[in-house]
């Protein structure tokens, strides 16, 4: 079931009222049509959805662990929410809220019981698939000077990620396109991707920096998940989106979902969209940005930008990496690594004695014209999913929506 609701208040009231009566209007963003589903008191016989009481959440982790998955989920560490292996439900951030604003990220603790009452941490799914540093291949040199090469392909454990957001699923789809949908698919990324099980959650509490509603990627999850959760005060509506997801649902003791619960879940995502104050000035900004390469605003951003690359590190779609060799001390072997790189570094555009982008203005312009412009031609859509991480994690609080907005407000 795909659902993403527009935020007009009148429609919102209508939907809530309909949902309370057992009718759920569904608008599909990918296939723009309306449909009204009638919710019966009894869930259908198939087990593609149900209600999981909050105190039973451990059942889900147990089912996943039982099926051989390592459970990875959000946990508070060093003042931020990061993905880590979960030992149990207690590792999940119950009652945690996150305040995010340009250049600021603060974890707050409350007495609440909700596990997913926050928008996101600095990491998306990216580091779990596109490893920050890994060996690509190795060279061995014999005493006679002969070279032997071997490719290193990781053998990851099946991994279930708990609490994946709509923006992160949209970014995952883009990274899949980049690393896998090519005639030379990436071995390491592919190996990890095939072992991934995704438990998504619909966002109910966006950060001040979020703008996924304007990019069309959230706050409700529409596709690309194995299971999706709606978190209510008393527990979770859980739905399956894949055959692997069906297999896990089979193992859970679920209750039927009441129309009131469905209505509350719908209401929460509609409100989450309405709460977002930021937006990009359009879905396709290619012509605007490439038509304004000499706009004075690039200089204004460059005066503040530290060219540190935080934005590209936290961006869930940025894919640049550099390759480097690390020879063994004995000299008989050498490992060829890749590690994340950023178009904000001096070395990124270096070519035999010449740097294509020697200054910050050119680097910021490169990042933005590619992310919001070039991606449309290369990957069929913008490279921005509205997660807002680049805004919160920028040490000087540069806000992508404001910078693009400034160019859109006075185009050449």
């Amino acid at each position: 079931m795909e659902c993403c609701f527009p935020v007009l208040p009148a429609l919102h009231r209508l939907f809530t009222w309909l949902a309370g009566l057992g009718f759920v209007p569904i608008y599909s963003m990918t296939d723009p049509t309306w449909a009204v589903y009638i919710i019966t008191d009894q869930m259908p016989d198939d087990v593609t959805s149900g209600f999981l009481p909050g105190q039973d959440f451990a059942q889900l982790l147990a089912a996943l662990t039982g099926q051989g998955y390592r459970c990875v989920g959000p946990t508070v560490r060093d003042g931020a929410l990061v993905y880590d292996t979960l030992q149990g439900v207690r590792d999940l951030p119950a009652g945690v809220h996150i305040q995010q604003s340009p250049g600021s990220y603060r974890v707050e603790f409350s007495q609440g019981k909700r596990l997913f009452g926050w928008a996101n941490g600095p990491q998306a799914l990216k580091p779990l698939l596109f490893a920050p540093r890994e060996v690509l291949w190795q060279a061995q040199r014999t005493a006679g000077g002969e070279l032997h090469f071997s490719q290193e392909i990781p053998e990851p454990l099946p991994t279930a990620v708990i609490g994946v957001r709509a923006c992160d699923l949209a970014a995952l789809e883009l990274q899949d396109r980049h690393f896998l949908e090519t005639d030379v698919p990436d071995a390491g990324y592919g190996a990890r991707r095939r072992q991934l099980f995704l438990v998504a959650v619909n966002c109910t509490r966006p950060a001040e920096t979020c703008f996924c509603a304007s990019t069309g990627d959230g706050p409700a999850v529409s596709r690309g998940y194995d299971l999706v959760l709606d978190e209510l005060d008393e527990g979770f509506i859980i739905r399956s989106g894949s055959t692997s997801g069906d297999g896990i649902l089979d193992l859970l003791t679920l209750q039927p979902v009441s129309p009131q619960q469905l209505g509350a879940a719908t209401d929460a995502t509609v409100r989450a969209a309405a709460m977002q104050g930021r937006q990009l000035p359009g879905r396709n900004l290619r012509d605007l940005l490439f038509g304004n390469l000499d706009h004075p605003h690039w200089e204004v951003v460059a005066a503040r930008c530290l060219s540190c690359g935080n934005c590209t590190s936290v961006c869930p779609t940025c894919f640049c990496y550099r390759e480097l060799d690390q020879p063994a001390l004995g000299g008989e072997s050498s490992r060829h690594y890749r590690e994340w790189d950023s178009c904000f570094t001096q070395g990124h555009s270096y070519i035999h004695g010449f740097t294509v982008r020697p200054d910050t203005r050119l680097r910021y312009r490169q990042w933005l014209t590619h992310k919001l412009g070039g991606w449309h031609d290369q990957y069929g859509r913008s490279g921005c999913v509205g997660c807002g991480r680049c805004i919160a994690w920028c040490p000087v609080g540069i806000d992508i929506t404001e910078e693009v907005g400034a160019i859109a407000a006075s185009p050449a």
């Binding site: 690509l136 090469f149 030379v184 480097l324 990124h348 294509v356 982008r357 490169q366 590619h370 290369q378």
Partner: protein
């Protein structure tokens, strides 16, 4: 078609030639007979060459595609890896993966007149084209070669230019920004050479490589003289590390030079060509 896109294969230096004080050529042979028998390339494509323990660099293949057993790479000693390569001798082993990218559409150009415009020391990608055409002279019409260098002493392969000039229906023109010893060409920018080139703009396809500002200026002159933009092809250079369109360093507008290039159809590249920062 291609072998080993993700990691190198062992190759042996079977010949080494010093072309100028800083430029040298390595003739390489792939060691694994299976890999060698499957290896095919087209002029304009490049290989990633790996120096053990140091790293990889992208280098154009200048030899003839009909002889994939002897892969010639002409390299300028300019960085860590290329300097290491300059120290190698016959029998030394390196890594090779490729070929990568799009080469020149030479089959598509058969029957037409061909002009080669190249500036600076970046002539390697088109030397393969000149050799290719001279080996198959009957398939192409007139051949005009324009070469520009900064200083007259920068020109390598002088005897080759002299030999090319002696070929039937072929014209070779040289330009140097700064002249020195007896110089057989003009003193001035390469665009001056179009004055002396005898060619029919409508019948000619042009292939160019060298500094982007030179390519841009030369294309402007060509189009002004009646060439069609669609009859111009160029070869570009950017930082390349993965060579398969994934690491992002060679991003040029909405393309990756390693994958969508290095040879571009001029209309596809002209908008951002020589635009600072792209």
């Amino acid at each position: 078609m291609t072998v080993a896109m993700h990691y190198p294969h062992e190759a042996e230096v079977i010949e080494r030639c010093q072309e100028s004080p800083t430029i040298f050529s390595l003739v390489l042979r792939l060691m694994d007979p299976m890999v060698a028998s499957e290896y095919r390339f087209t002029p304009g494509q490049f290989n990633m060459l790996y120096l053990f323990g140091v790293g990889e660099i992208p280098i154009s293949i200048v030899s003839d595609p009909a002889r994939p057993g002897e892969l010639i790479h002409t390299i300028r000693d300019v960085g860590r890896v290329s300097h290491g390569f300059s120290q190698l001798g016959v029998g030394d082993r390196i890594g090779l993966r490729g070929p990568y990218g799009r080469g020149w559409p030479l089959e598509q150009m058969e029957g037409r007149d061909v002009m080669i415009v190249t500036g600076g020391l970046g002539c390697a990608p088109v030397v393969s084209v000149i050799n290719y055409i001279l080996q198959r002279r009957e398939r192409y019409g007139r051949l005009v070669i324009l070469q520009g260098v900064k200083h007259s002493s920068d020109l390598i392969w002088r005897e080759r230019y002299a030999e090319w000039e002696r070929q039937n229906n072929t014209q070779v023109l040289l330009a140097a920004d700064v002249g020195g010893e007896p110089w057989p060409g003009v003193i001035g920018p390469i665009t001056m050479l179009f004055e002396y080139a005898r060619f029919n703009p409508q019948a000619t396809v042009t292939m160019m490589c060298g500094p982007e500002r030179m390519i841009h200026a030369a294309a402007d002159v060509l189009i002004e003289r009646g060439s069609r933009s669609e009859d111009i092809w160029i070869s570009m250079e950017r930082n390349m590390q993965c060579a398969v369109g994934q690491c992002g360093h060679c991003q040029f507008g909405a393309s990756f030079v390693c994958r969508n290039g290095p040879v571009y159809h001029y209309p596809d590249a002209s908008e951002l060509l020589a635009k600072r920062g792209f």
